[in-house]
């Protein structure tokens, strides 16, 4: 079996090398990917068409917003999948044993105090990253991950239960579902307002702005949806994996 694997790897590697012979040279401004009308259209028109200075955000959340909706669904699915596989019925005996384990664990004073100061700052920064996706690198995915990390820090420096008291697993799943609901819901409102699915310019009938500004606001809305899902699922996955799906004890 190992030889078979090695042969497959060698063949694949040889094919990849063979293909690279035909590549445009590195960083070539005349390569098809740089020259073709898709990328040049984005570079020249994305601000004019979406009123978002950050081109990456404009492509991610508007031109290819449908992809991003399903990337968010992928994250949501991963969370639900881990809960569905790991989460078992907790029987009383395990619960008692875990409760006694918990008493033995002590929180480190320095860790606890430091994270007590850090967590609010991290969360504030996360909100900034989410909101500032229009102008600088950032957006829902990045901000959501930072927010989720703050909850994980809480669980690491205190106990898993400390973090779960604030965001229980059920609440996390609800928040994640609400995130997708926000994203797909904005898309659906566009559909009801007379545009196609995710055509944010149709939102202008609901806002006192023009079609292009409406796109910009729509993008902010879906970024917030993404942030909800990413933050909640990050934490739910950590909570399940670190406690073998028992939601007690933790690392």
């Amino acid at each position: 079996m190992k030889t078979l694997g090695a042969i497959a790897v060698i063949i694949t590697g040889a094919l990849l090398l063979y293909a690279s012979e035909d590549f445009p040279s590195w960083g070539d401004p005349h390569s098809p990917a740089n020259q073709y009308r898709v990328s040049s259209h984005y570079v020249q028109n994305s601000f004019g068409e979406t009123s978002v200075p950050n081109m990456v955000t404009a492509i991610l959340a508007d031109y290819r917003g449908y992809d991003t909706l399903f990337e968010t669904v992928v994250i949501f699915t991963a969370g639900i999948a881990i809960i569905a596989i790991l989460r078992g019925p907790i029987d009383k005996r395990v619960r008692l044993r875990l409760a006694s384990e918990r008493k033995m664990r002590e929180t480190n004073l320095i860790l606890a105090q430091t994270s007590r100061i850090l967590v609010p700052v991290i969360q504030l920064f996360a909100l900034y990253v989410i909101a500032h996706g229009h102008h600088s690198p950032g957006g829902g995915f990045q901000g959501g991950v930072i927010f989720g990390a703050s909850l994980i820090l809480l669980a690491l420096s205190f106990q898993l239960q400390t973090a779960l008291d604030r965001v229980s697993e059920k609440k996390a799943v609800t928040l994640a579902a609400i995130g997708i609901l926000i994203y797909a819901g904005i898309g659906f409102v566009c559909l009801l307002a007379g545009g196609n699915f995710l055509d944010y310019s149709a939102l202008q009938v609901l806002m006192p702005v023009g079609a292009i500004e409406a796109r910009s606001h729509g993008i902010l809305g879906v970024e917030i949806g993404v942030a909800f899902t990413v933050a909640a699922i990050m934490f739910a996955i950590y909570a399940n994996l670190s406690s073998h799906g028992r939601m007690k004890g933790g690392l």
Binding site: L15, L16, Y18, A19, S20, E21, D22, F23, P24, S31, P32, A33, N34, Q35, Y36, R37, V38, S39, H41, Y42, D62, Y63, R64, G65, Y66, D67, F70, E71, V73, V74, F76, T77, A78, I80, A81, I82, I83, A84, I85, R87, P89, K170, V173, T174, A176, A177, I178, I180, L181, A184, F188, L191, G195, N196, F197, L198, D199, Y200, S201, A202
Partner: protein, 504 residues
């Protein structure tokens, strides 16, 4: 509203999945009505969309209102309109079946089960609808992740089988993504139609990168559809999955992936590149011949009923790949007709197997004695499906084999004809062996009565299991009887496949 049909088909299961995960934890009883309503709506709209496509030709739906090639679009021609109906019908029937099956197999995780189930259907529908090569990858991920979880929810063995599937499936998806990346390097576009036009227009046929891109995409899709010898993950994953999971996965995942391969071959690379420039048709058809023979022989070696059915899927994938790659219109029509009919045949067999295992708790063929007497209607469904697999008229299996064989004869590929006949013969042996075992009760009457006492549940399965089974069996006959109409639709799509079209 009619121009929003493509979006509604996809959004109904997506919103239902959100609703189930939001409400299911608190009020478990709302899950099922939501699932059934969403899938029913999706099915109704798919039927309306097929009517639209059949009357007015290709439908394009621009997501976000962005025109090709800047945004993502749905493209619906008769082929995927048909497949949309297949996906929604199969998932609706499985959802009805799962009313009893899922509540016994995964009782404490019903909301998660239905959320994942609906997301799987969303992923499959999205794969069918999309006209964007990268977007396809995203939806493949949605469909794969949900299948891994749905398989692993059952037992320890299922977890192991699912892990195997995770590794293989991720490799397949990565190959596909790498291939799309190579296409992007050479064309700068992700829209399928646009890539196809650039490949044709700017003389990229001789490019090594495009050749490797085609190989990577094909290998990736072949892993995903379990084309022999890349089928290793399939038998265990489908055999040990919960029965309502295998009922939706087994008929749909391989068929939708075959459709994706057709889309890649016909829209992205184009028949003239694959059939005239590369001339790969004979190589792949011979690979399909090996797949058919190997799948059939491995099925013959199984005594576990569900395991046997999974190896038959491997053989059937060989039928479809061979038919598509025959470079012949009749064979292509046969292959796509087989995509439709095989989805229902597989569903019927898995529903019947699930019902038998649910009632008797027995998994192997020798233990099926006397089933015709204990559960006659279930066995009627099983028999129709079995006859269709063998290819007895007027079931749909006969017509798909008819088109496939006549196409292979037109193309002069006798190896494929022999393989198809050989596989039908093996299917006849397999199913008549089961019929024989199941028709005759155990010889010792005392032993049988003792056995009935111990098993407890004997007789027909509940109506929610029997109903979908019999509807599916009826579909097999209907698809067979209305084969002319379906074939006309498929031919309508084949005519749009480019200037050279098919050889022969």
């Amino acid at each position: 509203m009619a121009d929003q049909y493509p979006a509604i088909i996809l959004l109904a299961p997506l919103f239902a999945a959100i609703a189930v995960s939001l409400l299911g934890g608190r009020w478990g009883s709302v899950c099922l009505p939501i699932v059934l309503a969403a899938l029913g709506l999706s099915l109704a709209v798919s039927v309306a969309l097929l009517g639209q496509v059949a009357a007015g030709g290709e439908v394009v739906y621009k997501l976000g209102g962005w025109p090709r090639p800047f945004g993502i679009e749905f493209r619906i021609d008769p082929l995927n309109a048909l497949l949309l109906i297949v996906v929604t019908t199969v998932s609706l029937l499985t959802a009805i079946y799962s009313i009893r099956a899922a509540t016994t197999e995964t009782p404490d995780k019903l909301p998660q089960f239905y959320t994942l189930f609906l997301l799987l259907v969303t992923g499959l529908l999205g794969m069918t609808l999309t006209g964007d090569a990268f977007n396809l990858y995203v939806l493949v991920e949605v469909a794969s992740l949900t299948s891994y979880a749905l398989i692993a929810m059952h037992s320890k063995r299922a977890v192991l089988a699912s892990f195997n599937y995770v590794i293989m499936g991720t490799m397949g998806a990565s190959f596909y993504l790498l291939g799309v990346g190579y296409l992007y390097i050479k064309t700068g576009s992700l829209n399928m139609v646009d890539i196809g036009e650039i490949l044709r227009g700017s003389g990229l046929y001789g490019s090594k990168t495009i050749l490797v891109a085609l190989m990577l995409i094909l290998v990736g899709l072949w892993i995903k559809m379990a084309f022999f010898p890349l089928h290793g993950w399939l038998p265990n994953a489908y055999a040990y999955a919960p029965s309502s999971t295998s009922c939706v996965l087994a008929p749909l995942v391989t068929k939708v992936t075959v459709y994706v391969m057709v889309r890649m071959m016909m829209t992205v690379f184009g028949p003239e590149y694959i059939f005239s420039f590369l001339e790969w048709s004979p190589i792949v058809v011979w690979m399909a011949v090996i797949a058919i023979v190997a799948g059939s022989i491995m099925a013959l070696a199984q005594i576990n009923l569900k395991k046997m059915l999974t190896y038959l899927i491997v053989a059937e994938v060989g039928y479809m790949v061979g038919g598509v790659w025959m470079a012949n219109e009749t064979a292509f029509v046969g292959a796509f007709y087989h995509v439709v009919s095989d989805a229902f045949m597989t569903l019927c067999l898995f529903l019947a197997a699930g019902a038998i295992i649910f009632q008797t708790g027995k998994h192997t063929i020798p233990e099926m004695e006397g089933l015709f007497r204990k559960m006659p209607w279930t066995m009627v469904g099983f028999t129709i499906a079995g006859l269709s697999m063998i290819g007895v008229p007027p079931t749909c299996g006969f017509f798909s084999k008819w088109y496939l064989i006549s196409g292979a004869m037109e193309a002069g590929h006798w190896g494929y004809v022999v393989a198809l006949l050989f596989s039908s013969l093996i299917n006849a042996i397999l199913f008549f062996r089961i019929f024989e075992v199941a028709y005759f009760p155990k010889f010792d009457p005392q032993e049988e009565s003792a056995e009935e006492e111990t098993t407890g549940r004997a007789g027909e399965p509940p109506a929610t299991m029997l109903g979908p089974l019999l509807i599916t069996a009826a579909c097999l006959l209907l698809i067979g009887i209305f084969n002319q109409e379906i074939v006309t639709l498929i031919r309508q799509a084949v005519n749009t496949f480019g200037p050279i079209g098919f050889i022969g």
